[in-house]
Symmetry: C2
Subunit: 106 residues, 2 copies
DNA sequence: TATAAACGCAACTATTCAGTTGCGCAAATT
DNA sequence: AATTTGCGCAACTGAATAGTTGCGTTTATA
């Protein structure tokens, strides 16, 4: 059961839930009202988001407020940034090849 | 069969493939050598990446070189950015509430 | 021309996953 | 005290998915 951030945001419903929670903390019922799915279905999505720390719980009486945790999103950010860095470094590699060719010639 | 960018990068193997291709274009066999999986298994991953335009093909004789397409990655970037914007705007909403309370008082 | 290499494609299988249903518990409400 | 509400948890089911195996096609090589 791999439950990392990438897996979590792969589902469009979960992305929508994060969008809601980014605006304000909400209870499972309140969240479910925004979707056609049942409460339990949404609850499962929230659970997955909670597993990988994308949302935090805050219990108040019998209600549980879920909060968005922007911190965890950085993992995705970081990966994309590394990818971008790799992509840009490939020019440097080409430069090295050209440099080697030049050296062989001389 | 939803094949969007988020779904594509959910798999760690596919993320690794993108990491390789970001450095340099490669053939399926060359890519498969970096993993324990079979050629066909890797080929399927590549196909998924191709479906959502994360990689481009370039046929040369009987070999097919796959290139990383950084453009498509922007979709993820954009979503994260919108999420961040929503997260930051929640303070503004709080401000509005406080402002309304103030107005009611006066 | 015969053989090997580099692929894609399709069928099959074992596993995983999403959603439903039903239950139980604790906190409110009446 | 009895009922309702908000919620999590577990079992079940149908659909999707990942990986394997086998085959066909095209391009190189001997």
């Amino acid at each position: 059961m791999r439950r990392d951030v990438f897996q979590a945001i792969a589902d469009p419903t979960r992305r929508a839930i994060l969008g809601l929670l980014a605006l304000q903390a909400m209870t499972p019922n309140a969240i479910a009202e925004h979707f056609d799915s049942s409460r339990q279905a949404i609850s499962k999505h929230i659970q997955i988001l909670a597993e990988c720390k994308l949302v935090k719980q805050e219990q108040t009486g019998r209600e549980i407020y879920y909060h968005f945790n922007p911190q965890k999103m950085k993992e995705v950010d970081t990966w994309i940034e590394q990818l971008r860095a790799a992509w840009e470094s490939r020019f440097t590699q080409l430069d090295d090849v050209l440099k080697n060719l030049k050296n062989k010639k001389s």
